[in-house]
């Protein structure tokens, strides 16, 4: 990196994948190498499987903590749909590293019946390859599972990132060791090396997509049974149903309005004080 230049690394993922830990480690490595580092993160969505992202900027002197769209040198994505969403932040010729394991966000899977189709973007890899030059894809979670713990997939991805940022293996491993619990050091070290030693040929074959969505085979519509003689018309089930499947009839009894949108959340059954509702 030349004097005055700033390296922009954007790390994106969804809640629980270790985005913040990974960005902390990267910032520690940069600091240890004598750079000025600015880091800015958005978190708190984690509990709902929402988006978590961090901007990490390092160089001789860094003023703003934020990366503008089209300014990113590296985009490290923990989830393919997030890679697609944030790809506009990469500058031409920037490097994209993405995990292949899909995490379907709650908004895409309102239909929680078995084998239900999810609204998840298709052909992510192809469109990313068309738009961007240097795309490195891997299934970090499978690698991490092979090492013994899916939670180290963020360290695997850091290993891949380490080939783009110019720090030494020792700097990386010592930063990782400081960030994780003593009992997790060894597996994280192996995860890091597994990522660092991965080879990414320029023209890579399309690996098989991760198994998140299968075509809807048969959608079993929920059978909501309401025992009319037990129902006292308190209206709780009608109010709490997130899909408006139920309604009150003229006799002030709860009846099924539309069972086809039922997601089997069970709230009507669990909250019925009269034990009058069953969802089959």
């Amino acid at each position: 990196m030349e004097n005055g230049q700033v390296q922009n690394v954007l790390i994106v993922g969804v809640g629980g994948q270790g985005v913040l830990t990974a960005s902390d480690i990267l910032a520690t490595v940069c600091l240890a190498s004598g750079y000025d580092v600015k880091k800015s993160e958005v978190h708190g969505m984690a509990k709902r499987g929402g988006v978590v992202y961090t901007h990490v900027r390092y160089g001789r002197k860094v003023l703003s903590p934020l990366i503008e769209p089209g300014e990113g040198d590296v985009l490290l994505a923990f989830e393919p749909a997030e890679a697609l969403r944030w790809s506009k932040y990469l500058k031409p010729g920037g490097t994209l590293i993405t995990n292949l394991r899909q995490r379907v966000p709650p908004a895409s899977c309102l239909d929680r019946r078995p084998q239900a189709a999810v609204r998840y973007p298709q052909e992510i890899q192809r469109s990313l390859r068309q738009q961007l030059g240097d795309v490195r894809v891997l299934d970090a979670e499978s690698l991490a599972m092979e090492l013994g713990n899916p939670r180290v997939s963020n360290t695997v991805l850091l290993g891949v990132l380490s080939n783009v940022c110019e720090f030494s293996t020792e700097d990386w491993t010592s930063a990782i060791e400081r960030s994780v619990k003593p009992q997790a050091r060894e597996i994280n070290r192996r995860a890091f090396l597994a990522g660092r030693n991965m080879q990414f040929p320029a023209a890579e074959e399309e690996p098989a997509a991760a198994p998140a969505q299968e075509a809807a085979a048969s959608l079993a519509i929920a059978d909501i049974e309401i025992r009319e003689t037990w129902c006292k018309g308190c209206e709780i089930c009608v109010v709490v149903c997130p899909q408006n499947c139920l309604k009150m009839n003229d006799a002030k009894k709860a009846v099924v309005a539309d069972a086809s949108s039922c997601i089997r959340c069970m709230l009507c059954e669990w909250l019925c004080p009269d034990l009058a509702v069953n969802v089959h």
């Binding site: 037990w230 308190c234 209206e235 109010v239 709490v240 059954e269 669990w270 004080p273 034990l275 069953n278």
Partner: protein, 274 residues
């Protein structure tokens, strides 16, 4: 596959509780908890006192006993001593357990006999027409406090913990899945387990205090409570005025029957020894 009809005395249904009464929600959660532990109907003993909540024992197809006002814990103690293999569940209300049966509650907690007490707290005496209870929030209207409750309210969980209960938890009917987990955990606890469940009384408490429909009362519960684990991380001003839910206290003390067995080794009935 869980089917609660299996656990009910179907000829007793529909039950006599008012529309929107939270006690029915607790009943469902309790049945799911018992089912999740794989207990057979003959292994469970449900004892209750007097009051709306105590009617629940009549609807379930376990061994049941509907006893006198305030005394279900005393009856249950006798049952557990005679038949230690039974899972004894006491269903009681706030007035039943804290007012009329206040002494039975603290001494049952002190003894640490392995049984579970479910206290259904709706802040009012529902069955007798809406008189104020020891748990009625100060300022709330009841038949006997038309200008607002003057007395301070009991925090039954703190009372049970102070009296020596080794498992203390609180749930709200707004969160039936959490209530189910709390009851299951209480049933597995070796010692006196106490679970307070905030229920609602739309017919009296709700009507007197104009707090809206049964569903509004459920949502209010959520606003007035905080998960104990989440609250631990919050600053004091955010916790102010909120009741904590979840497992509030758990420790291990010698269980009453085990100690009894030890003290009378060789002198106790053979079926009470391990």
């Amino acid at each position: 596959m869980f089917d609660f009809k299996e656990y009910l005395r179907l000829d007793m249904f529909p039950h006599m509780l008012c529309p929107g009464c939270g006690h029915g929600i607790v009943l469902g959660a309790m049945l799911r908890a018992i089912h999740s532990l794989g207990l057979s109907k003959d292994e469970v003993m449900v004892v209750s006192g007097i009051g709306c909540s105590s009617r629940l024992s009549g609807y379930v197809d376990f061994n049941t006993l509907h006893t006198t006002h305030g005394r279900p814990l005393a009856f249950a103690t006798g049952i557990k001593l005679a038949r230690p293999e039974l899972k004894v569940i006491v269903i009681t209300g706030d007035g039943d357990a804290l007012s009329i049966g206040g002494n039975h509650l603290i001494h049952a907690a002190r003894r640490n006999l392995a049984m579970t007490c479910l206290l259904l707290n709706n802040e009012i005496y529902g069955m007798t027409g809406g008189q104020s209870a020891p748990t009625t929030t100060p300022g709330k209207i009841s038949t006997t406090s038309p200008k607002g409750q003057t007395e301070r309210a009991f925090d039954s969980c703190r009372l049970a913990e102070a009296a020596g209960a080794t498992f203390v938890a609180r749930g709200i009917t707004y969160e039936p899945a959490a209530v189910e987990r709390l009851i299951a955990a209480a049933l597995q606890h070796n010692g006196f387990s106490f679970v307070e469940i905030l229920s609602d009384c739309p017919e009296f408490f709700g009507r007197f205090n104009r707090v809206g429909s049964p569903s509004d009362m459920l949502f209010t519960q959520k606003q007035n409570t905080l998960d104990a684990k989440a609250a631990a991380a919050l600053p004091p001003e955010r916790r102010k005025g909120k009741l904590l839910t979840g497992i509030l206290h758990q420790d291990s003390a010698p269980e009453y029957l085990a100690t009894l067995d030890q003290n009378f080794a060789g002198a106790v009935r053979p079926d009470m020894r391990e």
